[in-house]
C-alpha cells in the first residue's frame, strides 16, 4: 500500500479525533468491556510473568547483598530484644483485655486480588489489580501484602480493575506515626526507586533509627497500625520546625503478585 502525505494527514486527523474522544472519557464504557473480556487471560499471563520475573531476578551486586545481610543481622538482633520486651507487654495486655471483656473489632475486612500489570521504574511505582468498583473498592483504600504490610493506596478505579500507587511512588502520601505512639506524627512521601521518606515530623516527636513506622489511622479509609517500614536515618536541624527520616520499606514492592485490599467491614 503506497502512502501519500495526504493519507498521512488523514490518518493523523482520525487518530487526533480518537485522542480527543479518549480525553473526553467517551470511550470509557468500551474500555471497560474490553477489560472484562481480557481479564481472565490477563490473570493467567500475569501469573506466568510473575513466575518468569522471579526466575530472572539475579541480584547484580553480591557484595552489596552481603553487606546488607550483615546490616540486617545487626538490626535483627536489636529487634529481637525489643520483640521479647513486646511479648511480655502483649501478655500483660491480653490478660487486661480478658479482664475487661474487651472485644477487638477493627471494623475492616480484606479482599484478595492478583496483580495483573505494573509500572515500576524511576519515580513511578504503580500496579493494576483484578478487583475494582464492582468489588466495593474505592479510591484511597489501602492495599497490603499477604503479611499485612502496606503496599500503597488505590489511585484510580475501573469496574473490574483498580490502579494502586505504591508507597515508593513520588505521588504517594500516607499519614503515618511511629508504632506505639497512636497519634499522627508525619507523612510518608514516596521518593521513587523503591524509597520513601518520613517527613513533617515535629521536632518534639521522638524519632530514632529502627523505629517502626505505621499508618496513623487519620485518613478516612486507612486503618491505623499497618506497618510501612522502619526508620533508617533521621535528619534533624535545630532550626527547622520538622525533622525527616529515610525509610526502609518493608514490603517487597517489585515482587508482590498477590495482594489484599482493606475495605470497611460493612462494604460488600
Amino acid at each position: 500500500m503506497s502512502i501519500k502525505p495526504r493519507t498521512v494527514l488523514l490518518i493523523a486527523g482520525g487518530l487526533a479525533g480518537l485522542l480527543l474522544l479518549m480525553l473526553a472519557g467517551v470511550i470509557r464504557p468500551v474500555r471497560e468491556r474490553v477489560r472484562f473480556v481480557l481479564l481472565p487471560v490477563a490473570r493467567v499471563t500475569a501469573s506466568m510473568g510473575a513466575g518468569i520475573g522471579r526466575a530472572l531476578h539475579i541480584d547484580p551486586g553480591a557484595e552489596a547483598a552481603q553487606e546488607t545481610v550483615r546490616e540486617l543481622e545487626a538490626r535483627l538482633r536489636s529487634i529481637s530484644v525489643d520483640y521479647v520486651r513486646l511479648r511480655a507487654l502483649e501478655e500483660e495486655n491480653r490478660s487486661l483485655r480478658a479482664q475487661a471483656q474487651f472485644i477487638a473489632d477493627t471494623g475492616f475486612r480484606t479482599l484478595g486480588a492478583r496483580v495483573i500489570s505494573r509500572a515500576i521504574r524511576y519515580e513511578t511505582a504503580a500496579i493494576v489489580i483484578d478487583r475494582g468498583a464492582r468489588d466495593g473498592i474505592e479510591v484511597g483504600h489501602p492495599v497490603v501484602t499477604d503479611d499485612g504490610i502496606l503496599l500503597g493506596k488505590v489511585f484510580s478505579l475501573g469496574e473490574r480493575t483498580a490502579t494502586v500507587v505504591l508507597v515508593s511512588d513520588e505521588r504517594s502520601r500516607v499519614a503515618a506515626s511511629v508504632s506505639g505512639t497512636n497519634r499522627l506524627s508525619g507523612v510518608v512521601e514516596g521518593q521513587g526507586n523503591g524509597t520513601a521518606r518520613f517527613t513533617l515530623v515535629p521536632q518534639s516527636e521522638p524519632l530514632a533509627q529502627d523505629d517502626v513506622v505505621v499508618t496513623a489511622g487519620t485518613e478516612d479509609r486507612v486503618p491505623a497500625n499497618l506497618v510501612i517500614g522502619w526508620v533508617n536515618n533521621v535528619e534533624s536541624r535545630p532550626t527547622d520546625p520538622f525533622k525527616s527520616a529515610a525509610l526502609e520499606l518493608l514490603a517487597a514492592m517489585d515482587r508482590a503478585d498477590l495482594v489484599s485490599v482493606i475495605l470497611p467491614a460493612g462494604n460488600r
Binding site: I3, L19, R35, A46, G49, T124, V128
Partner: protein
Amino acid sequence: MSPSRQWNRRALAGAIGLAAGMVDATVTVWFPGLFSVIRFALPGALAITVFSSLDRALVAAVAAGIVMDVLQPSFGFTPIRLALVCVAVRFISQQYVTNRSLIGSVALGIVGLLIDRSILVGATWAHGFIGEAFIPEVHAPLWAEAAWVGACMAVLFLLFAAFSKRFLPFFTRRS
C-alpha cells in the same frame, strides 16, 4: 491477492497484535533490570510496517495498543501512538530510507522508537497540562530499547529474507 485472503492476513496481524500487547502488559512488566527492555508490541508493529503492509500494521498496532491501554496502570495513548508510529515509519521508508537492506531496516526500527518516545513525551506533557492525575508510562533506558528494537528488526529482516523471495535480486526471481 483475493479480498478474503487480505482479510485473513489482517485478522492474523490483529491476533499477533493482541498477543504482543497482552505479553507487554502482563508478562514482560515483571522482568527485572535490563530484561525489562523486552517488549513485543512496538517491534512487532514496526516489523509489519516495514516488511509487510501499512493496513496490517495499523490493525496490529491498534489491537496491541488497546490491550496495553486497558491493562496497564499508565495511560499512554498507546493505540494512537503505535498507529502514528506505523504511519510515520511507512512514510519514511517510502520517501527516505529503504527497507530493502539490513541497515535500513534497523534504522527504520530505531527511528520508529524515537518517534514513539517523542509522541509519548508530548502526550505526557499534554496530559499534565490538562491537570488530570495519571500514571506516566515507564520504559527501559532509550539506548537499551534502541538496541532491542534494532536487534528485533535485524533478526526479522534476516528471517524474512531467508524465507521469502521479496529481497532476492530480480534475475533470480525469474530463474
